[in-house]
Symmetry: C2
Subunit: 429 residues, 2 copies
């Protein structure tokens, strides 16, 4: 990867190899609009585009217009399609490169640099997309297995359908919030004594507030009602990826979820990271996922073997006193189903996906407890406190004032880290 004329720390998630897109507002422009993250800066694309003109940013001859960068969401940009995303990303990479082909445009244009490059700490991030529908899958094999063992024992841990298709459910779009938004501990119906007869639920704040470490995938290209997306075309429908924390109230969920699935145990908040990492930026980090012991149906068969991404994933928990522990480390390769498989399955019966729709991977855990993407696994089903760093404090589930921060990044062989930044939220009582 080329070097940038900007000073970018090698530990930055936002190297020249990344160029993730987000919705920003800045000290100079409080209307949300489009920017990209680079090192410790945001490059304001609304400012840049107006200055350098469409010919230096967008493919020529297309229907695309610079107005997409002034929009308050990325939906319009996403709809332009993957070849446009690729073109724009490559143009920005060139403009920011030490050996840019057009030093006149930005590198040597002090006035524009001053206006278009804004320190990240002074920028407010917004939800990147208007999310029409949100679907949450369950493709993290180790999580599905571990939770299944807790509820049904090792013999019946996975339902018979698990290896036949990517199991998922419709989630709630209205409560998806951008990283940094406080998360209020939800009140709900809880069965304190599951063995009592008759059942006597109470209404109380959840006592088992949990997280779920997931990857989120934003859709760029729609399919019409009634027309499935073939597995080989599914990649063309992907805009990019974010980290996703599917906050979960385990006690509310346990009482409500039979027979129609999770509801109030999930719909109080889902946090996503603000920067959408384009599918192209993750291409170099493809890897094989968890092997599926079952031969899959034709509509789920992918041509390539490396269908998921080797993304390092971490969960940090910060106590109200400010002590931070990394409580889990796992990888994006712990998925048994890929996003193209999820898209092919989701649309098999003709369900339309629309630009801005969000797919969650399901909780990503490794095979051992310290690789757990949920506290449910770390606490062995809420039976055992786990240690935070230093050893004085423990947790089973989240306390008021706790902050959970998800991180995710890939490191290329020649450097050039591609990361997501933070996906964080603080629990309010």
């Amino acid at each position: 990867m080329a070097r940038s004329w900007l000073d970018i720390d090698p530990s930055s998630d936002f190297s020249l190899a990344n160029i993730p897109f987000g919705i920003i507002s800045t000290p100079d422009d409080s209307s949300p609009h489009v920017g990209i993250a680079i090192g410790t800066y945001v490059l304001d694309l609304k400012v840049l585009a107006l200055q350098i003109g469409p010919e230096n940013l967008l493919p020529s001859g297309g229907a695309s217009s610079l107005a997409v960068f002034a929009q308050p969401t990325l939906n319009a940009f996403a709809q332009l399609g993957r070849s446009v995303h690729r073109h724009v990303r490559e143009r920005i990479q060139d403009l920011l490169s030490e050996d840019t082909t057009r030093p006149d445009l930005l590198k040597n244009n002090a006035e524009l640099r001053e206006r278009a490059l804004v320190p990240q700490q002074s920028v407010q991030m917004h939800l990147p997309m208007v999310i029409g529908d949100y679907t949450d899958f369950y493709a993290g094999y180790h999580h599905a297995y571990a939770v299944g063992v807790m509820f049904r024992g090792p013999e019946n841990a996975l339902q018979p359908n698990y290896t036949h298709f990517p199991v998922g459910y419709h989630g709630r779009a209205s409560s998806i919030v951008v990283s940094g938004t406080p998360v209020r501990r939800p009140v709900g119906q809880i069965l304190q004594d599951p063995k009592a007869d008759p059942k006597r639920p109470t209404v109380a704040p959840t006592q088992r507030l949990d997280i779920e470490l997931e990857l989120g995938c934003f859709i760029s290209k729609s399919n019409p009602l009634g027309q499935p997306v073939g597995i080989d075309e599914a990649e063309e429908h992907v805009f990019g990826y974010v980290l996703l924390n599917d906050w979960s109230a385990r006690d509310i969920q346990a009482w409500e979820y039979v027979p129609l699935g999770p509801f109030n145990g999930k719909n109080f908040a889902t946090t996503i990271s603000p920067w959408v990492v384009l599918a192209d930026a993750l291409e170099p980090f493809r890897t094989k996922g968890i092997e599926n012991p079952t031969p899959v149906q034709e509509y789920l068969k992918e041509k390539r073997e490396a269908t998921v991404y080797d993304i390092h994933l971490e969960v940090d928990l910060t106590t109200p006193e400010g002590n931070t522990s990394t409580v889990a480390k796992t990888s994006g390769k712990n998925l048994m189903w890929s996003f193209p498989q999820m898209i092919a399955h989701h649309t098999l019966g003709g369900c339309p996906l629309r630009p801005g729709d969000l797919l969650g991977s399901g909780t990503i855990s490794g095979p051992v407890p310290e690789q757990s993407g949920s506290l449910l696994e770390l606490s062995e089903g809420g039976k055992r406190e786990f240690q935070l760093n230093g050893g004085n404090e423990t947790r089973m589930f989240l306390k008021d004032g706790d902050t959970v921060t998800l991180r995710g990044f890939c490191v290329g062989k020649a450097g050039g880290r591609v990361g997501f930044g933070e996906c964080t939220g603080r629990v309010q009582g």
Copy 2:
């Protein structure tokens, strides 16, 4: 109820007592905009509003503007709140009354009548709202019980949580279509032999295509993230009601729904009737629902006893040859949970509802088979063919070319029928 100067047949769903709102395009104006149904006509509110001015349609001094009637959806009008809906409906009722206070505006204005009153048959109807999130409940007690008996026997027909809160799940908003849209028979994974070990699903068009007769409730007023809607305030968050057909592929659903709920068995299409009957129009038809044997939690306790509506509901099935049978008749009173209870429960943990969000009641069936809101019940779980009119033809589930039409209406003591019109869809192979 006053009489109209328009000739309205007593059997019309769209009496002066109704005034339902919808999104229309007309021979003169192909841009979708707002109209109301009256008799066999549509009253074009975009045309009317421009002509008679805001003072004759909207409350004075408010922030509301006539521009809401030129919008391609009812979301902006819905957001104005129930007092504005009431005012506008009452103004329109007055304008259309035999003894209107302002005969000059419409009754005696032949030129405006000609332009603003459009025969319904020449009007195209569109989806009335942009639907952010769709939630489907399961409040039809007799349906839940009958289906529970089929799957788990009479002892365990209802899950223990059923009488404690309105069970529901997040549905798919992107595949909600307006009445008249063809419904394509979905392909999906189906387990032909559920007892085989190992399980061997196939991929095929559903062989068990079903309907679900439901009421839909549109939300007008949002609640912020983290702030529940109290049961006594819930009515103020309701815009109005539609008929809803939750098309279901029973074989796909049976294989996929454990443990996370229905997915591809439902998300291929949901049809709604085009006219939103305002909450006020249904007020005279309040009645008690199914008695709940369990004392409910405080947050679900309503002050009044009559919490649901006595709406006559019918399911018509028209064969490809054009023979129509009414296969079921039931009533809106067969609900154990009311929409205000659904709203209070949905928001208990802080989930935001937004204007245009849609809640489905769940299938509404009576206690006997001919009152079934689904073919699953009519066919006793797909075990017995049921007769269509005339007796020559039978069905278990839907065939290609079948058309299903839901109807719903209330009849006031002094006449003045309040109905929904048709909610119809034809099955395509």
